[in-house]
């Protein structure tokens, strides 16, 4: 016989925290765009979620031709986006707006490595060689850069 009082279902706590949050009350357009891009990527692509869940690093991105930057504070499955460059960054990428957008268009190839031999990749590599793309903190953080690139990438 059914006992109405005994049938209470166990309530499981469901995680409701969004993967991306903004540190500032009014995130800049650039912060919203990067945060939105990462959130959409992570929520729609399981392979990116895996990278996102494993990454703990502070990455700065500064767009030289608009003089604006953001700090992406990856906290293993959670990202806080700050307007401007915050201290204690592991990596800082400095480039013009077009190059920053092209970084998102890098294809990911074998072993999860960004592809630098196609048209977009060659363009990015040329900017790096020509000094138009600077990556501070690269030494010792190459794996972090590759993980961030994979999370960002919208190609393929």
């Amino acid at each position: 016989m059914h006992d109405a009082g005994a049938g209470r279902m166990a309530r499981r706590k469901v995680a409701t925290q969004k993967p991306v949050e903004y540190a500032d009350v009014e995130p800049s357009a650039f912060a919203s765009m990067l945060g939105g891009l990462i959130e959409a990527n992570v929520e729609s692509r399981p392979e990116k979620r895996k990278d996102f869940d494993s990454l703990a690093a502070r990455v700065g991105i500064f767009v030289t031709d608009i003089d604006e930057g953001v700090t992406l504070d990856f906290q293993r499955g959670h990202l806080v986006v700050h307007n401007g460059l915050e201290p204690k960054r592991d990596l800082t990428i400095r480039a013009e707006a077009g190059t920053v957008m092209n970084l998102s268009n890098l294809r990911i190839g074998l072993f999860g490595m960004p592809v630098y031999y196609d048209e977009v990749g060659r363009g990015v590599a040329a900017k790096l060689v020509g000094g138009k793309l600077r990556i501070d903190g690269l030494l010792g953080n190459l794996a972090t850069l590759n993980t961030v690139t994979r999370i960002f990438s919208v190609a393929g």
């Binding site: 800049s28 357009a29 765009m33 891009l37 959409a40 729609s44 707006a97 920053v100 998102s104 919208v154």
Partner: protein, 140 residues
């Protein structure tokens, strides 16, 4: 000959420019969404009413580009909104559209990964607007 900004004649010439562009044709391969441009009113610039540009773009070509009410453009899959003078800056190459979006001068609504994947196509589309000779209402 120059055409009035955001008029039907402008839309026709813009569409022709897009369809003439081999760069756009290859960069926009696979694109299958509509794009709306909302041009907000600026009465002090002799642009008293908001207008909408509805672009039916498919796989590297412009099937149709129409000018109408802003509300029509707002129904598109991707919507870019800015006041009249900002669009004028884009069309006269004073403002780069990518930079404008990152600075919030042009407001974008729609799936970000998709639009970022087609950055080159959107840059070429901006180039196409700059090739249409325009008569601007605030320069009369």
């Amino acid at each position: 000959m120059a055409v009035k900004a955001f008029s039907d004649e402008w839309a026709t010439q813009f569409k022709d420019e897009v369809n003439r562009s081999s760069v756009y044709k290859s960069a926009a391969k696979g694109w299958k969404w509509t794009v709306g441009l909302v041009v907000e009113a600026e009465p002090d610039k002799n642009f008293p009413d908001a207008k909408g540009v509805v672009m039916d773009l498919f796989d590297g070509s412009a099937r149709d580009i129409k000018v109408g009410p802003a509300a029509e453009a707002q129904k598109c899959d991707f919507v870019i909104t800015a006041p009249y003078s900002r669009w004028k800056q884009v069309a006269t190459k004073e403002l780069d559209a990518t930079k404008g979006m990152l600075q919030g001068k042009l407001k974008l609504k729609g799936d970000l990964p998709t639009i970022v994947r087609y950055t080159k196509a959107s840059q070429e589309m901006t180039e196409c607007t700059t090739r249409v000779p325009v008569e601007w209402p605030d320069e009369k």
